[in-house]
């Protein structure tokens, strides 16, 4: 049996241990797949989106996700993963706002 991590509520920065994805997470996701050629891919995505890679706003991540989804098929799947994680974070954060939970 493989033990998947399910951090308890409030255990890390986001609800149920899920932080909102950011550019660092996007970069790390690509690094898991592409290893030594990651920086070349990341540079191309930043060039395409006109970003420096240091942005922290949600709009910058949206642009990177769009660029990834229109890239080669594996990078596109990676972009889709990030999009799903953003949607999950936003949905849970909204739930928590509605019920007034501090976590």
């Amino acid at each position: 049996m493989i033990d998947l991590p399910h951090p308890p509520p409030g255990a890390s920065s986001g609800p149920y241990g899920l932080p909102r994805p950011d550019l660092d997470e996007a970069h790390q996701a690509l690094a898991e797949i592409y290893a030594e050629i990651t920086d070349r891919i990341w540079t191309q995505i930043l060039h395409q989106t006109g970003l420096s890679g240091r942005e922290t706003d949600p709009d910058a991540l949206d642009r990177v996700i769009d660029a990834m989804k229109s890239s080669d098929p594996i990078t596109a799947l990676c972009g889709r993963s990030l999009e799903i994680r953003v949607a999950a974070f936003d949905a849970i954060a909204t739930d928590r706002e509605l019920i007034g939970s501090p976590a």
Binding site: H6, L18, A29, R40, L82
Partner: protein
């Protein structure tokens, strides 16, 4: 997300296998929805799904009775995904009552969506790659019989056939353009 989990799901060969199918083809979606409906009916479960487990999230590719689950989203993070367990083991993954399962009881899908019973069969391609899972879920605990698991596995085989009937334009001789930048 967990680096270890991401590392295990982000294998190049598995992702290349996933990229060989046109998951956005509406005809494929129709077929997967129909298989899910048949599975749900045969197993007398309210909800059945086909999921693709990507590098760090699960994508719902076909479903029956899924309204209200996952907040209507396209899937969820891999670390919350029961189907990720199915993919990592390559074996059916069965949870009779998730609220009493030490590994799943704090999962938001259990705490927020109320999932209690889960049975998933892996989607294994002819090349041995595990794409995702075909699964049934319920808000009530359920003890799955051997016949039910066999039925689920047979349906998972049908799901793989459906995917193989819908190759993407990248299905042969795929090579990312990034490899040709020199």
């Amino acid at each position: 997300m967990s680096t270890l989990l991401h590392h295990r799901l982000a294998g190049r060969e598995r992702l290349e296998a996933l990229a060989r199918y046109d998951v956005d083809d509406p005809h494929l979606k129709q077929q997967l929805d129909a298989i899910a409906m048949r599975t749900a009916m045969h197993l007398h479960m309210p909800t059945a799904l086909t999921t693709l487990v990507l590098d760090n999230a699960t994508l719902i590719a076909g479903a029956h009775g899924v309204d209200g689950w996952m907040r209507g989203g396209p899937g969820g993070p891999a670390e919350w995904s029961f189907c990720a367990q199915t993919v990592l083991t390559g074996e059916p993954y069965i949870v009779t009552d998730a609220s009493r399962d030490p590994m799943q009881c704090t999962n938001p899908v259990v705490e927020l969506d109320g999932l209690r019973a889960y049975a998933g069969a892996p989607l294994i391609t002819s090349s041995g790659q595990v794409l995702g899972a075909h699964c049934v879920i319920d808000t009530a605990p359920h003890v799955f019989s051997e016949d039910e698991i066999a039925e689920l596995q047979a349906a998972a085989t049908d799901v793989v056939v459906a995917f193989e009937q819908h190759p993407s334009r990248y299905s042969t001789e795929y090579r990312p353009s990034f490899f040709n930048l020199d």
